[in-house]
Amino acid sequence: MTQVIERTEAVKLRVMENAQWNKPVYETNGLNLWYGTSHALKNIDLTIHEKEVTAIIGPSGCGKSTYLKTLNRMVELAGNVSISGNVTFQGDNILDRSMPVEMLRSKVGMVFQKPNPFPKSIYENVAFGPKIHGIKNRAILDQVVENSLKKAALWDEVKDRLHENAYGLSGGQQQRLCIARALAVEPEVILMDEPTSALDPVSTNKVEELIKEIKNDVTIVIVTHNMQQAARISDRTAFFLNGEVIEYDRTSTIFNEPADQLTYDYINGRFG
């Protein structure tokens, strides 16, 4: 009897913990997306929790990048896209178009597969976001640039050449610069679309360390091809296949005791 009570207490505690620490940021209900006639996302239900790293894994063409780009509505750039269902960000439905995308994207940063700094100085790259959102004061900008570069663990490497072109940096440094650029507007969420797939192992490691570091401040959703990476850095993992969410759970559960045979097969390299 006492055992049972203890167990229920423990479960309650865990639920409370979850409720306390993992407030939902994004809630997706019945999301469907078509590129023309091709059905890319099918009935997606997914909740992304605050200040966690959520990894999205799955084989090429499974819709994981499409889902990620739906979260900041970059997916619409492709043109010929139709969407149904609900995606709420902090309670607001982002698909009903009452919220300007500019507002959404100032709260939800994005880091791309290929490092894409602007052909400007390192300083101007980081100051870009604050500037477009109207900050002109030089002293504030200086501070933002320094803080963001420090958060992105790049400050020591670039502090003496802030005004040199960003394309003089190595690929890994460029990607960390892009993360600093995203951090500079103090977003709530950063979406990462295979951020390390173009990087060497050392740079990849640095970016992963950085992700673990910044998740104290921001929620991170990361699409990755690299399952070890998902296992190393994420708190939750969603497995996508053919536009559907096959399984979504704590990363340890997904990798150690997946409920679905497909998930098991995928993470054990049977396909994909």
Binding site: R105, M110, N116, F118
Partner: protein, 295 residues
């Protein structure tokens, strides 16, 4: 035995191939030479006829029926004022149109139609633009044959070139830069202004300068508009009557049967015009090589 035969056959064929290789190289070389030789003869003729007539007085003097005293300052100023109209008008309209077509317009049949038409307009003979300018600017708007009317006509003529060149420059800007900016929450216009245009600018400028150099050398539309012949006062604004360097060449060449030395003056003016074009085109090449960013 068979092997020997095969080898012989191979050798015979090889000789044929090598021969063809040499012949084709020769054909291409001679083709190139043809253009160069014609250009050299032309340059030689122009230089030998005109160079002696270029002096300070010729460059800064007023027009005169007396070849000893004639100068081309009027035409130089006319060309200058013409550019004052043409450059801003084509830069603004051309770049704005290109931005609309590349960045805003949806890709559909209608924009495709517009696109094809712009490309075709670039090939319309310049005299047709002259007639358009005469009808619209000189007569309908009653501007008369002043710099403004000529400049607007010339702008129409080179606008398609500027649009097409600017579109190509905009298209060459990598999409990932645009995405990076939009992903930060920048508006479309902020993205264009802060990211896309700076990258496209060298290409746009190169196209615009080359188009301007075309406008400097054009004569036909101005003939149609009725740019006056000799002996007018220096133009001092865009509302004055004017003449330009190629017009000057045209009139002097026409009248060279009356006064033989006019042919020399025409040649001297050609030299001045060629130098101006050379400077413009070189600056376009310098801009392209120096400022174009590669990714």
């Amino acid at each position: 035995m068979e092997h020997v035969q095969e080898a012989q056959q191979f050798e015979r064929k090889l000789n044929g191939r090598l021969m063809m290789n040499k012949v084709s190289k020769g054909i291409f070389f001679l083709s190139t030479l043809f253009g160069l030789v014609v250009l050299a003869v032309l340059l030689y003729r122009v230089l030998s006829e005109g160079i002696a007539y270029i002096n300070w007085n010729f460059l800064t003097g007023k027009l005169s029926t007396n070849p000893e005293r004639a100068g081309i300052m009027g035409a130089i100023l006319g060309t200058f004022w013409l550019m004052i109209v043409v450059a801003p008008v084509t830069m603004f309209l051309g770049v704005a149109t290109a931005i609309y077509l590349e960045m805003y317009a949806k890709k559909n049949k209608f924009t495709e139609f517009i696109q094809t038409n712009i490309a075709n307009l670039a090939g319309v003979p310049s005299i047709v633009y002259g007639i358009l300018g005469l009808t619209v600017f000189v007569r309908a708007m009653d501007l008369g044959n002043i710099v403004l009317a000529g400049g607007l006509t010339m702008s129409l003529l080179i606008l398609p070139i500027v649009i097409v060149a600017s579109q190509e420059a905009l298209r060459a800007v990598p999409k990932f830069l645009e995405e990076g900016s939009l992903g930060m929450g920048a508006t479309k216009w902020q993205t264009i202004r802060a990211v896309v245009l700076p990258v496209a600018l060298p290409g746009i400028l190169t196209g615009a300068i080359l188009a301007l150099s075309r406008a400097i050398g054009e004569t036909a539309p101005l003939v149609v508009i009725g740019i006056p012949a000799l002996l007018i006062p220096f133009p001092g604004s865009i509302f004055d009557k004017f003449t330009v360097l190629p017009m000057q060449i045209y009139y002097w060449t026409l009248d060279s049967s009356l006064v033989a030395e006019y042919a020399n003056l025409a040649a001297a003016t050609i030299i001045v015009l060629l130098v101006a074009l050379l400077v413009l085109n070189s600056s376009a090449i310098i801009i392209r090589n120096k400022f174009t960013k590669r990714f």
